[in-house]
Protein backbone atom coordinates (compact mmCIF):
# COMPACT_ATOMS: atom_id res chain seq x y z
CA UNK A 1 0.00 0.00 0.00
CA UNK A 2 1.48 3.40 -0.91
CA UNK A 3 2.63 5.48 2.02
CA UNK A 4 0.27 8.36 1.23
CA UNK A 5 -2.69 5.97 1.21
CA UNK A 6 -1.61 4.50 4.53
CA UNK A 7 -1.40 7.95 6.08
CA UNK A 8 -4.79 8.86 4.66
CA UNK A 9 -6.38 5.71 6.08
CA UNK A 10 -4.90 6.37 9.52
CA UNK A 11 -6.02 9.98 9.51
CA UNK A 12 -9.49 8.77 8.49
CA UNK A 13 -9.69 6.90 11.74
CA UNK A 14 -8.49 9.84 13.89
CA UNK A 15 -11.86 11.42 14.66
CA UNK A 16 -12.95 8.22 16.39
CA UNK A 17 -10.80 8.98 19.43
CA UNK A 18 -11.18 6.67 22.42
CA UNK A 19 -14.06 7.57 24.73
CA UNK A 20 -11.53 8.19 27.53
CA UNK A 21 -9.84 10.98 25.54
CA UNK A 22 -13.20 12.54 24.66
CA UNK A 23 -14.30 12.38 28.29
CA UNK A 24 -11.09 13.97 29.55
CA UNK A 25 -11.41 16.76 26.98
CA UNK A 26 -14.99 17.37 28.06
CA UNK A 27 -13.86 17.48 31.69
CA UNK A 28 -11.14 19.97 30.80
CA UNK A 29 -13.64 22.11 28.86
CA UNK A 30 -16.04 22.04 31.81
CA UNK A 31 -13.27 22.98 34.22
CA UNK A 32 -11.95 25.87 32.12
CA UNK A 33 -15.47 27.11 31.44
CA UNK A 34 -16.15 27.11 35.17
CA UNK A 35 -13.00 28.92 36.20
CA UNK A 36 -12.33 31.35 33.34
CA UNK A 37 -14.51 34.25 34.50
CA UNK A 38 -13.14 34.27 38.03
CA UNK A 39 -9.63 33.86 36.66
CA UNK A 40 -10.18 36.90 34.46
CA UNK A 41 -11.45 38.98 37.38
CA UNK A 42 -8.48 37.91 39.54
CA UNK A 43 -6.05 38.84 36.76
CA UNK A 44 -7.88 42.08 36.08
CA UNK A 45 -7.68 43.18 39.69
CA UNK A 46 -3.90 42.81 39.40
CA UNK A 47 -3.30 44.20 35.92
CA UNK A 48 -6.05 46.88 35.97
CA UNK A 49 -6.56 46.31 32.26
CA UNK A 50 -9.01 43.89 30.68
CA UNK A 51 -6.80 43.15 27.67
CA UNK A 52 -3.75 42.38 29.80
CA UNK A 53 -5.90 40.18 32.01
CA UNK A 54 -7.28 38.30 29.01
CA UNK A 55 -3.76 37.67 27.77
CA UNK A 56 -2.68 36.28 31.13
CA UNK A 57 -5.72 34.01 31.37
CA UNK A 58 -5.20 32.75 27.83
CA UNK A 59 -1.53 32.00 28.58
CA UNK A 60 -2.50 30.28 31.80
CA UNK A 61 -5.13 28.14 30.06
CA UNK A 62 -2.67 27.06 27.37
CA UNK A 63 0.09 26.25 29.84
CA UNK A 64 -2.32 24.41 32.11
CA UNK A 65 -3.76 22.35 29.24
CA UNK A 66 -0.28 21.44 28.01
CA UNK A 67 1.28 20.59 31.35
CA UNK A 68 -1.36 19.61 33.87
CA UNK A 69 -4.44 18.35 32.05
CA UNK A 70 -3.43 14.75 32.77
CA UNK A 71 -3.32 15.36 36.53
CA UNK A 72 -6.26 14.24 38.70
CA UNK A 73 -9.20 16.60 38.38
CA UNK A 74 -9.32 17.42 42.07
CA UNK A 75 -5.85 18.96 41.72
CA UNK A 76 -6.79 21.15 38.76
CA UNK A 77 -7.99 24.26 40.61
CA UNK A 78 -4.82 24.88 42.67
CA UNK A 79 -2.66 23.92 39.68
CA UNK A 80 -4.48 26.33 37.39
CA UNK A 81 -4.11 29.11 39.93
CA UNK A 82 -0.43 28.23 40.31
CA UNK A 83 0.01 28.86 36.58
CA UNK A 84 -2.09 32.03 36.61
CA UNK A 85 -0.39 33.35 39.73
CA UNK A 86 3.06 32.94 38.21
CA UNK A 87 1.91 34.85 35.14
CA UNK A 88 0.50 37.64 37.29
CA UNK A 89 3.81 37.81 39.16
CA UNK A 90 5.71 37.99 35.85
CA UNK A 91 3.39 40.75 34.69
CA UNK A 92 4.10 42.73 37.85
CA UNK A 93 7.85 42.25 37.51
CA UNK A 94 7.76 43.47 33.91
CA UNK A 95 5.59 46.45 34.89
CA UNK A 96 8.00 47.36 37.68
CA UNK A 97 10.96 47.26 35.29
CA UNK A 98 9.08 49.37 32.74
CA UNK A 99 8.19 51.93 35.40
CA UNK A 100 11.81 52.07 36.54
CA UNK A 101 13.01 52.70 32.99
CA UNK A 102 10.42 55.42 32.54
CA UNK A 103 11.66 57.13 35.68
CA UNK A 104 15.30 56.86 34.55
CA UNK A 105 14.50 58.38 31.19
CA UNK A 106 12.46 61.11 32.80
CA UNK A 107 9.21 60.10 31.17
CA UNK A 108 6.08 60.72 33.13
CA UNK A 109 2.94 58.67 32.88
CA UNK A 110 1.29 61.12 30.52
CA UNK A 111 1.05 58.73 27.56
CA UNK A 112 -2.09 56.95 28.50
CA UNK A 113 -0.42 55.17 31.40
CA UNK A 114 -1.86 55.27 34.88
CA UNK A 115 -0.39 57.47 37.50
CA UNK A 116 1.62 55.27 39.92
CA UNK A 117 0.20 57.33 42.77
CA UNK A 118 -3.19 55.91 41.94
CA UNK A 119 -1.89 52.54 42.96
CA UNK A 120 -1.25 53.67 46.51
CA UNK A 121 -4.11 53.40 48.97
CA UNK A 122 -5.51 56.77 50.02
CA UNK A 123 -5.49 57.03 53.83
CA UNK A 124 -8.18 59.71 53.64
CA UNK A 125 -10.45 57.63 51.49
CA UNK A 126 -14.04 58.45 52.49
CA UNK A 127 -14.74 54.74 52.85
CA UNK A 128 -17.29 52.52 51.26
CA UNK A 129 -20.36 54.07 52.82
CA UNK A 130 -20.24 57.23 50.76
CA UNK A 131 -19.49 55.42 47.53
CA UNK A 132 -22.02 52.70 48.25
CA UNK A 133 -24.59 55.44 48.72
CA UNK A 134 -23.75 56.44 45.16
CA UNK A 135 -24.48 52.93 44.00
CA UNK A 136 -20.81 52.15 43.35
CA UNK A 137 -20.46 49.22 45.69
CA UNK A 138 -18.67 47.01 43.24
CA UNK A 139 -16.26 49.76 42.31
CA UNK A 140 -15.56 50.30 46.00
CA UNK A 141 -14.80 46.62 46.44
CA UNK A 142 -12.52 46.66 43.41
CA UNK A 143 -10.71 49.74 44.68
CA UNK A 144 -10.21 48.19 48.10
CA UNK A 145 -8.88 44.97 46.61
CA UNK A 146 -6.59 46.81 44.19
CA UNK A 147 -5.13 48.81 47.05
CA UNK A 148 -3.88 45.59 48.66
CA UNK A 149 -0.34 44.35 48.02
CA UNK A 150 -0.34 41.63 45.35
CA UNK A 151 0.25 38.64 47.64
CA UNK A 152 -2.41 39.73 50.12
CA UNK A 153 -4.93 40.26 47.33
CA UNK A 154 -4.14 36.87 45.79
CA UNK A 155 -4.50 35.17 49.17
CA UNK A 156 -7.82 36.87 49.87
CA UNK A 157 -9.23 35.95 46.45
CA UNK A 158 -7.99 32.38 46.43
CA UNK A 159 -9.01 31.63 50.00
CA UNK A 160 -12.30 33.46 50.27
CA UNK A 161 -13.55 33.62 46.70
CA UNK A 162 -12.12 30.54 45.03
CA UNK A 163 -12.58 28.57 48.23
CA UNK A 164 -9.14 26.97 48.28
CA UNK A 165 -7.97 25.77 51.68
CA UNK A 166 -4.71 26.94 53.24
CA UNK A 167 -2.61 24.12 51.76
CA UNK A 168 -4.08 24.56 48.27
CA UNK A 169 -3.58 28.32 48.43
CA UNK A 170 0.02 27.80 49.51
CA UNK A 171 0.53 25.42 46.59
CA UNK A 172 -1.09 27.86 44.17
CA UNK A 173 1.02 30.76 45.37
CA UNK A 174 4.23 28.82 45.80
CA UNK A 175 4.68 29.81 49.43
CA UNK A 176 4.34 28.25 52.86
CA UNK A 177 1.03 27.75 54.66
CA UNK A 178 2.27 30.12 57.35
CA UNK A 179 2.72 32.84 54.71
CA UNK A 180 -0.83 32.24 53.49
CA UNK A 181 -2.19 32.74 57.00
CA UNK A 182 -0.14 35.89 57.45
CA UNK A 183 -1.17 37.32 54.07
CA UNK A 184 -4.84 36.59 54.73
CA UNK A 185 -4.72 38.07 58.20
CA UNK A 186 -3.16 41.27 56.85
CA UNK A 187 -5.56 41.42 53.92
CA UNK A 188 -8.55 41.11 56.24
CA UNK A 189 -7.11 43.77 58.53
CA UNK A 190 -6.61 46.14 55.59
CA UNK A 191 -10.02 45.49 54.03
CA UNK A 192 -12.07 45.48 57.21
CA UNK A 193 -12.24 49.25 57.77
CA UNK A 194 -13.13 49.81 54.12
CA UNK A 195 -15.61 47.00 53.62
CA UNK A 196 -17.12 46.06 56.95
CA UNK A 197 -20.31 47.94 56.09
CA UNK A 198 -20.72 45.85 53.00
CA UNK A 199 -23.98 43.93 52.96
Amino acid sequence: MPLATAVWNVSDRMPSAPPQAVASERALDRFLRGIERRALRIAELSTRHREDALELVQDAMLAFARSYADKPEDEWTPLFHRVLDSRILDFHRRSTVRRRWRVWFGRSGDEGEEDPLEQVADPHDPGPMLRMADGQTRAALDAALRALPLRQRQTFLLRLWEGLDVAQTAAAMGCSEGSVKTHLSRALAALRPRLEDLR
Partner: protein
Amino acid sequence: MTTHEHTPAAGEPAASDARWTDAARRMLDEAADDLDAATLSQLNRARQAALAASRTRRAPAWAWPALFAAAASCALAVLVWPVAQAPLETTPPGMIVAGDLELLAADAELALYEDLEFYAWLDTQQSADG
Protein backbone atom coordinates in the same frame (compact mmCIF):
# COMPACT_ATOMS: atom_id res chain seq x y z
CA MET B 1 -2.56 34.66 75.57
CA THR B 2 -5.22 37.08 74.46
CA THR B 3 -6.55 36.93 70.94
CA HIS B 4 -7.81 39.99 69.14
CA GLU B 5 -11.44 39.78 68.13
CA HIS B 6 -10.58 39.97 64.42
CA THR B 7 -7.52 37.75 64.41
CA PRO B 8 -8.32 34.75 62.23
CA ALA B 9 -7.51 31.34 63.68
CA ALA B 10 -5.45 28.97 61.54
CA GLY B 11 -5.86 31.06 58.42
CA GLU B 12 -9.62 31.33 58.68
CA PRO B 13 -11.47 34.66 58.73
CA ALA B 14 -13.04 35.51 62.07
CA ALA B 15 -16.77 35.00 62.48
CA SER B 16 -17.21 38.73 62.80
CA ASP B 17 -15.86 39.13 59.27
CA ALA B 18 -18.37 36.71 57.80
CA ARG B 19 -20.96 39.34 56.85
CA TRP B 20 -18.74 41.60 54.78
CA THR B 21 -16.61 38.77 53.34
CA ASP B 22 -19.83 37.00 52.22
CA ALA B 23 -21.03 40.24 50.64
CA ALA B 24 -17.66 40.72 48.95
CA ARG B 25 -17.80 37.17 47.60
CA ARG B 26 -21.32 37.72 46.27
CA MET B 27 -20.28 40.94 44.54
CA LEU B 28 -17.24 39.29 42.99
CA ASP B 29 -19.52 36.54 41.68
CA GLU B 30 -21.87 39.13 40.21
CA ALA B 31 -19.00 40.95 38.53
CA ALA B 32 -17.78 37.68 37.02
CA ASP B 33 -21.30 36.88 35.77
CA ASP B 34 -21.75 40.32 34.21
CA LEU B 35 -18.87 40.13 31.74
CA ASP B 36 -19.71 41.60 28.34
CA ALA B 37 -20.21 39.51 25.21
CA ALA B 38 -16.90 40.54 23.61
CA THR B 39 -14.95 39.42 26.67
CA LEU B 40 -16.88 36.15 26.86
CA SER B 41 -16.11 35.55 23.20
CA GLN B 42 -12.39 36.10 23.82
CA LEU B 43 -12.50 33.73 26.79
CA ASN B 44 -14.23 31.16 24.61
CA ARG B 45 -11.50 31.44 21.98
CA ALA B 46 -8.82 31.11 24.65
CA ARG B 47 -10.53 28.00 26.00
CA GLN B 48 -10.78 26.44 22.54
CA ALA B 49 -7.07 27.12 21.95
CA ALA B 50 -6.24 25.46 25.27
CA LEU B 51 -8.34 22.42 24.39
CA ALA B 52 -6.63 22.16 21.01
CA ALA B 53 -3.25 22.37 22.77
CA SER B 54 -4.22 19.57 25.12
CA ARG B 55 -5.34 17.47 22.12
CA THR B 56 -2.01 17.82 20.31
CA ARG B 57 -0.01 17.38 23.51
CA ARG B 58 -1.58 14.03 24.33
CA ALA B 59 -0.84 12.26 21.02
CA PRO B 60 -3.07 9.31 21.93
CA ALA B 61 -2.36 5.73 20.96
CA TRP B 62 -4.50 5.92 17.84
CA ALA B 63 -2.42 8.81 16.53
CA TRP B 64 0.95 7.08 16.80
CA PRO B 65 0.72 5.24 13.40
CA ALA B 66 -0.01 8.56 11.68
CA LEU B 67 2.86 10.24 13.51
CA PHE B 68 5.16 7.35 12.62
CA ALA B 69 4.14 7.54 8.95
CA ALA B 70 4.70 11.28 8.90
CA ALA B 71 8.11 10.90 10.57
CA ALA B 72 9.07 8.15 8.11
CA SER B 73 8.04 10.37 5.19
CA CYS B 74 10.19 13.19 6.52
CA ALA B 75 13.17 10.87 7.03
CA LEU B 76 12.76 9.51 3.51
CA ALA B 77 12.60 12.99 2.09
CA VAL B 78 15.75 13.99 3.96
CA LEU B 79 17.60 10.93 2.62
CA VAL B 80 16.37 11.17 -0.97
CA TRP B 81 16.67 14.91 -1.41
CA PRO B 82 20.50 15.16 -1.48
CA VAL B 83 20.70 12.33 -4.03
CA ALA B 84 18.16 14.00 -6.27
CA GLN B 85 20.03 17.26 -5.99
CA ALA B 86 23.49 15.71 -6.59
CA PRO B 87 23.90 16.80 -10.28
CA LEU B 88 23.44 20.36 -9.22
CA GLU B 89 26.55 20.08 -7.10
CA THR B 90 28.94 19.46 -10.07
CA THR B 91 31.34 22.12 -11.28
CA PRO B 92 29.53 25.21 -12.46
CA PRO B 93 29.49 25.70 -16.27
CA GLY B 94 31.73 28.77 -16.07
CA MET B 95 34.43 26.77 -14.37
CA ILE B 96 34.25 24.00 -17.02
CA VAL B 97 34.72 26.49 -19.85
CA ALA B 98 37.67 28.09 -18.05
CA GLY B 99 39.35 24.70 -17.49
CA ASP B 100 38.86 23.64 -21.14
CA LEU B 101 40.34 26.89 -22.41
CA GLU B 102 43.40 26.39 -20.23
CA LEU B 103 43.94 22.92 -21.67
CA LEU B 104 43.46 24.07 -25.27
CA ALA B 105 45.94 26.90 -24.76
CA ALA B 106 48.56 24.46 -23.53
CA ASP B 107 48.89 22.29 -26.70
CA ALA B 108 52.68 22.27 -26.52
CA GLU B 109 52.67 20.95 -22.99
CA LEU B 110 50.22 18.17 -23.99
CA ALA B 111 52.65 17.01 -26.69
CA LEU B 112 55.41 16.98 -24.11
CA TYR B 113 53.33 14.77 -21.81
CA GLU B 114 52.59 12.37 -24.72
CA ASP B 115 56.35 11.98 -25.54
CA LEU B 116 57.40 11.66 -21.94
CA GLU B 117 58.31 7.99 -22.35
CA PHE B 118 60.56 8.82 -25.31
CA TYR B 119 62.41 11.48 -23.35
CA ALA B 120 62.87 9.07 -20.45
CA TRP B 121 64.37 6.46 -22.81
CA LEU B 122 66.60 9.12 -24.40
CA ASP B 123 67.84 10.12 -21.00
CA THR B 124 68.80 6.52 -20.10
CA GLN B 125 70.61 6.13 -23.46
CA GLN B 126 72.60 9.32 -22.91
CA SER B 127 73.54 8.19 -19.42
CA ALA B 128 74.72 4.83 -20.75
CA ASP B 129 76.78 6.53 -23.50
CA GLY B 130 78.16 9.06 -21.18
